[in-house]
């Protein structure tokens, strides 16, 4: 029988982090993953991540995957690919399907880090070709280089729906609408805003009632819903789409924990049926742990820490880590976790609808929650979004408390401060001079920072925007400026396009607009 100190199931953020941590402590670790390539969902993620600097924030997801893999390789962690764990049995034994064989392996501890699966909602025609999961659409685009369709309806406005909508736009698809049955957009406002400003309409309190078409999707009927999420007759709208993307949440994949005999519980806040776990992720079956989305749907940033926590616990129990050192690390990781698990999107606040202001006491934008963009009068409540110093300066339209702070390190002149509590909104120090370098624009994972100069030329202002589409317009190009809602508001001329390697694929595109549109123009289109 093959034996290891630790078996990790799943080579995503939680699993790889756990394996790296355990290997550093001297454990013999084997990682099994059913996929042909490691990284879990990370390699599909081409957007920049949120979080704090020490947790890979502002790095693009696939780079985090590359970093984790490099670390694992350096430490000699064996990552077995195309190796599907079929079941966990008594005595911490796993059966692994590898090629045409069934491999038996045992370990003193097992960490289940199998991630999550996409939820589906049934509606008339949902079984037609052309109805796909948002994660599947992402895999098609970002791994296979295939466009999932030409015109897309995105169902679900959580972060997955918003991020994938943006990536669909980047891939050249049209997004006809983003809809959500809830009365408010579920994901980060900044993710919604970057989609909305390209002109994509958001319909909250709407559901998809039918996929039209004979053999495949040729249209979608959406309708408004009542308080019980039932479609209201007479409110139907038909959208001309060829693809319906479903992003209505994720369910933890707890089947392996079930085969191991772990006690499971249905916990909606954690996304579905999950193992009962203690603070270290240990299940009711001693020495079997569960970390990452498999233990409860959260972000990759928390998954990486949860993987490490389970690993140090397993290491301590197996004698690879002393009690004092274990406690110190456990405290450190717990502190990191609590930094990330704050703000209006934290797991403990899931489903809350009673929040009306930010931690700072600013009124939350209702329009952002309902339509995906800030109304001009709402912007004015936020000091960081309404700076008017002379010359070029940042305007940060960051209006929700989410755990993220790369912007404060981006400015080498110390213009931007978030502070220790990383869910706080950034504060701009107007006494510090802005050089217009654009590093803060590129560092903001939410693409919420703009560089504005109200007096760029007599009668004209310049607005620098983060731009992640190809082809990148050239300086001198003329087109339109779009407002936050994606409506063309004025003519615009691209006056500069700035890009350095450190900006990591986010271009600072500066356009010249009539001065009165300085605080409205937020996107450019030829």
């Amino acid at each position: 029988m093959m034996r290891h100190d630790l078996i990790v199931i799943g080579a995503g953020p939680a699993g790889l982090s756990a394996a790296i941590e355990a290997a550093r402590l001297g454990m013999d670790v084997a990682v099994f993953d059913e996929n042909a390539r490691p990284g879990g969902q990370l390699f599909k993620q081409i957007h920049k991540f949120f979080g704090s600097k020490e947790h890979h924030a502002k790095e693009r997801g696939f780079r985090i995957g590359e970093d984790l893999l490099a670390d694992a390789e350096k430490l000699g962690v064996a990552v077995h690919l195309n190796a599907t764990v079929m079941g966990i049995y008594e005595g911490r034994e796993v059966l692994v399907k590898h090629e045409d064989e069934t491999v038996h392996a045992k370990a003193d501890a097992i960490i289940i880090a199998t991630g999550a699966a996409e939820n589906m909602i049934p509606f008339t025609g949902w079984d037609k070709p052309g109805v796909i999961g948002a994660g599947a659409a992402q895999a098609l685009m970002n791994l296979q280089g295939v466009m999932p369709g030409k015109r897309i309806l995105m169902v679900g406005s959580g972060n997955v729906g918003l991020v994938v909508s943006f990536q669909l736009l980047q891939a050249g698809c049209e997004v006809a609408a983003v809809i959500d049955a809830a009365p408010r957009i579920g994901g980060y406002g900044v993710h919604a805003a970057k989609v909305a400003r390209t002109g994509v309409p958001f319909y909250t309190r709407h559901t998809v009632v039918e996929a039209l078409g004979k053999d495949r999707v040729e249209g979608a009927v959406i309708a408004e819903v009542d308080d019980h999420f039932q479609p209201i007759p007479g409110t139907e709208k038909t959208l001309d789409v060829d693809t319906i993307c479903i992003a209505v949440g994720l369910s933890p994949m707890s089947q392996l924990a079930d085969t191991a005999g772990c006690d499971l519980v249905l916990d909606r806040k954690r996304g579905g049926t999950v193992p009962v776990i203690d603070e270290y992720g240990e299940t009711s079956v001693p020495n079997v742990y569960c970390a990452g989305d498999a233990a409860g749907i959260e972000e990759a940033s928390t998954a990486m820490i949860l993987g490490r926590i389970s690993a140090i616990r397993a290491a301590e129990k197996a004698g690879f880590l002393g009690a004092a050192e274990f406690t110190a690390r456990a405290d450190e990781y717990a502190a990191s976790l609590s930094k990330l698990r704050r703000g209006m999107f934290a797991p403990q606040n899931k489903g809350r609808t009673d929040m009306t202001e930010t931690d700072e006491g600013y009124p939350l934008s209702k329009s952002l929650l309902a339509h995906g963009f800030l109304e001009p009068n709402e912007v004015s409540a936020f000091p960081c979004a309404t700076v008017h110093e002379v010359g070029v300066h940042p305007v940060i339209e960051c209006t929700q408390n989410i755990p993220c702070n790369p912007c404060q390190d981006a400015c080498r002149f110390g213009c931007i401060t978030v502070g220790d509590d990383i869910v706080k909104l950034p504060v701009i120090d107007e006494t510090k001079r802005c050089t217009g370098c654009g590093m803060c624009v590129a560092s903001c994972s939410g693409q919420a920072i703009f560089l504005v100069d109200e007096a760029y030329e007599p009668g004209y202002a310049s607005v620098g925007i983060p731009y992640e589409f190809v082809p990148v317009p050239k300086a001198g190009a003329r087109g339109h400026a779009l407002n936050r809602a994606g409506a063309p508001i004025c003519d615009a001329e691209v006056v500069s396009v700035k890009y350095t390697k450190a900006m990591d694929k986010t271009v600072l595109l500066t356009m010249k607009v009539p001065a009165e549109f300085a605080s409205e123009a937020r996107f450019y289109r030829d």
Partner: protein, 380 residues
């Protein structure tokens, strides 16, 4: 009967196919003052975990009357009777042998069964392959019983349940029976985690968990849990209708109407391994063992995908046939357990026999006189 009542003429402990079939037969006779108490859900034990064999061949002659009655008089019309297709297919049972030793075993079964009137014969490998062409050339011989068959155990169990429910039987699930108690010498109380229930007669048919309950009124029947595992494959084009058994014991099973293959077996070490009955956990060696068994006889199935495995515990009795008997030492108690892994096919007949024991004091339609509770004795 009020919805919350806890007393009835008959309480049935256990909610498997024996319970449901008995409840149905009682109700059919007009007796629906019956409460069925089930710990988990309907058919949670062996009733929904077996491979669906409806077989007379290779049975112990003591339970053959039940099997022959079920096949002759009940199964052919059961779908109509219950108003639901229980997927009964009567296309025969082949019990395969690979060696001369297997041939001897099979011949002995055939001889015993023929003596009590069962139509079963020995055939050669080629004859078996003519009946079931997908079979390996290695098969040397087989016993062939054309009147055997198979059915869908899930549907059969739940169909009996639904009919009994419609006819007024009360079913309570999620209730654990902790013991029985006597009043003035008669078994009357059924203690549960939902309080005490009360009945004139108690039928105990809770599979491997029955013995623990029976002993609370001093009844000892040598029955222990024994695990078997079953695997089910993806849907496949139709290959054969016969039910397959093998003299070597590697596996048993068949192809369902739905197209999946349902095949069960054991690893031979179960009696000596630690067990967790409540969660019906599979182990790491049984499914591979069954898979090797299947390929030995049906190499054509090599590329078929297994989509699920599960485990069940059957109530293994010391002499491999059940006790179906009223217990004179504990008046008011009727026991029906120890089916030893072949209770499904006879369950419709068992339900009839038990309804007669409960209503008339004895099974008069089917002879169950060899299945008494007091037949066990120490050796020597």
């Amino acid at each position: 009967m009020s919805i919350e009542t806890k007393s009835a003429s008959v309480i049935i402990v256990g909610g498997g196919i024996v319970a449901c079939a008995t409840a149905y037969n009682l109700a059919k006779r007009g007796m629906n003052d019956v409460i069925v108490l089930e710990k988990a859900e309907i058919g949670n034990g062996g009733s929904c975990r077996n491979a669906g064999g409806v077989r007379q061949s290779a049975r112990d002659v003591r339970e053959l009357p039940l099997a022959m009655y079920a096949v002759g008089k009940i199964w052919p019309t059961l779908s109509d009777e219950l108003g639901c297709d229980v997927e009964y297919v009567q296309k025969g049972n082949l019990r395969l042998g690979l060696t001369e030793a297997h041939r001897k075993t099979l011949e002995a079964h055939v001889a015993k069964s023929t003596r009590v009137g069962l139509e079963v014969e020995m055939i050669e490998g080629d004859d078996a392959r003519a009946i079931c062409p997908a079979m390996s050339e290695e098969v040397l011989c087989a016993s062939w019983c054309p009147t055997d068959g198979h059915a869908n155990p899930l549907k059969t169990t739940l169909a009996f349940y639904q009919r009994a429910l419609q006819m007024g039987v009360t079913f309570v699930t999620g209730v654990t029976v902790t013991g029985l108690r006597k009043v003035r010498g008669r078994v009357r109380y059924v203690d549960t985690d939902d309080g005490t229930y009360e009945a004139d007669q108690v039928l105990l048919c809770a599979g491997y968990e029955s013995q623990g309950i029976a002993e609370t009124v001093g009844v000892e029947i040598p029955v222990v849990p024994r695990r078997n595992e079953v695997l089910v494959t993806e849907m496949c084009p139709h290959l054969f209708d016969v039910m397959i058994g093998v003299a070597g014991g590697e596996f048993y099973g068949g192809q369902t109407e739905h197209g999946s293959f349902v095949m069960g077996g054991n690893n031979g070490l179960e009696a000596f391994c630690s067990e967790h009955h409540d969660r019906f956990s599979t182990d790491s060696i049984t499914a591979p063992s069954i898979a090797r068994g299947i390929l030995k006889y049906f190499p054509a199935l090599e590329g078929v995908k297994i989509i699920r495995t599960w485990a069940g515990y059957y109530d293994a009795c010391a002499d491999v046939v059940p006790v179906i008997d009223a217990i004179p030492e504990a008046p008011g108690l009727v026991c029906a357990f120890g089916f030893s892994g072949h209770g499904f096919g006879i369950a419709p007949a068992t339900g009839l026999a038990l309804s007669e024991i409960l209503l008339d004091g004895a099974s008069h339609t089917i002879d169950v006189s060899a299945l008494t509770y007091d037949r066990f004795a120490a050796k020597g």
